[in-house]
Symmetry: C2
Subunit: 112 residues, 2 copies
DNA sequence: CGCCCCACTGACCTCAAGGTAAGTACGCAC
DNA sequence: GTGCGTACTTACCTTGAGGTCAGTGGGGCG
């Protein structure tokens, strides 16, 4: 939503992911549908403001679905859409690469 | 290199990619080894300062290789390392996802 | 009665990433 | 000798993402 005339697909994908907590939010939602407060606990360090903000952006991009229950104590549930699921799948190899890197870094630290 | 105690592999991978021009740099280097000036032309919009900066970070993370030729008009060539190549491969599905999104956006714009 | 929890919203502030512009040292061309 | 191209570095400035904190309105609980 910032670049628009994208140079390549990667560019377009990164645009959706861009935001300090977005991948973590997507990752959390892949395991379970959550309400706002749960998400807040699952993504340690986010402020309420930014969590709301990034959830709205992800919703606008069609990645997450927001379901409001009109009950006395407010209840809102977030979940991944089909597109969000596809994005998560596409992020799989990147996560695996990062995991290998983490292992390598830890090993290096252990020997350093 | 900002988060360090990573929450997941994705986190560790995003950390490496983080920087306005890094994926574009990696993408450009996947197609060809380049000298500084070429890269500047291949990544439209980067300033020299930031290009140098991000190349150094990618080098520190073991993603790109920097080769200096000690000749009269300075010559430096950048290329992907093995790790960089693996990262690029891991970025493949994400790029494909983004490409589909681009196509969908264009179609929507064409119909709007 | 006061406080917490729910899911936010809005005003304000900070800080670092990135942009701008100039400087460096050398050679070639006009 | 003026200017361009090579590959940078440095000082300075701007911008906006994200952080902090306070407020909202109602219900349950002690």
């Amino acid at each position: 939503m910032g670049n628009q005339p994208y140079v390549c697909g990667l560019d377009a994908a990164v645009d959706v992911i861009d935001g300090k907590w977005k991948v973590l939010i997507i990752w959390a939602l892949n395991h379970q549908r959550c309400r706002f407060g749960e998400l807040r606990r699952l993504v340690p360090g986010v402020s309420e403001k930014v969590l709301t903000q990034q959830l709205r952006e992800l919703e606008a991009d069609g990645i997450v679905h927001r379901e409001i229950y009109d009950v006395k104590p407010p209840k809102v549930e977030y979940s991944l859409t089909g597109l969000g699921d596809e994005l998560n799948t596409a992020l799989g190899p990147l996560g695996a690469w990062g995991k290998r890197r983490m292992a390598a870094l830890e090993e290096a630290a252990g020997q350093g």
